[in-house]
């Protein structure tokens, strides 16, 4: 009995988190175009986004399973974005940005280690 109550709480909290961000995005769009979004329409967009996550999740899971993986990766996300060329390209670019950030981070850490080593050598 308690488990299902906790699950509902988590669900409500997630829905609230989605609603919050949706509200802020709508507010910004409203400001950019000088037209306010009614509370009803923000709630509707939030609910639709929440339901769309279910569709996305099932698709992601199916793609991963098809590739004989149990972990959903960025390759699966790229497939989910396949219906629109513009969206596809945008997601592809974001993915490359992420990879580049991680490479840069690794290089920074290796660089620090190397310079520290040469410092110690010169001291000897």
């Amino acid at each position: 009995m308690k488990m299902s109550v906790d699950k509902d709480e988590t669900l409500q909290r997630l829905k609230a988190a989605v609603h919050y961000t949706v509200g802020r995005l709508c507010q910004k769009t409203g400001e950019d175009h000088r037209r306010e979004f009614s509370r009803q329409v923000i709630a509707a967009i939030a609910e639709t986004t929440f339901r769309q996550c279910d569709i996305f999740a099932k698709d992601l899971e199916a793609f991963a399973r098809h590739a004989k993986r149990s972990t959903v990766t960025t390759d699966d996300v790229k497939l989910v974005a396949r219906r629109s060329t513009a969206l596809s390209i945008y997601i592809q670019n974001k993915s490359e940005e992420l990879n580049q950030e991680q490479k840069d981070l690794k290089k920074k850490n290796t660089g620090k280690r190397k310079s520290r080593e040469t410092e110690e050598e010169s001291r000897e």
Binding site: C26, C53, L60, R83, K94
Partner: protein, 81 residues
């Protein structure tokens, strides 16, 4: 100036919990990068919904974006995603 440009995003943790909750199988996991990319996808989904609804309101000469405007653009939005 900096406050206006602060990016509105879906938190990686929220997206992770959201999507993981909808997986059918227990063994299915979501990589960190995939969660970040999906956060982008969701942001675009919401922005599209908002902008299209706004344009619909504009075409009807309405001052506020109401639910009827969203309902009209919803079918195409879902097809496009």
């Amino acid at each position: 100036m900096a406050e206006r440009d602060a990016e509105i995003v879906f938190k990686k943790d929220t997206v992770h919990k959201l999507l993981s909750g909808f997986f059918k199988e227990e063994k299915t996991k979501l990589s960190g990068d995939a969660a970040l990319l999906m956060a982008e996808m969701l942001k675009i989904f919401v922005e599209e919904a908002a902008v299209r609804s706004q344009k619909q309101a504009e075409s009807e000469d309405c001052d506020e974006v109401e639910i009827e405007h969203f309902e009209k653009i919803l079918p195409q939005l879902l097809l496009d995603f």
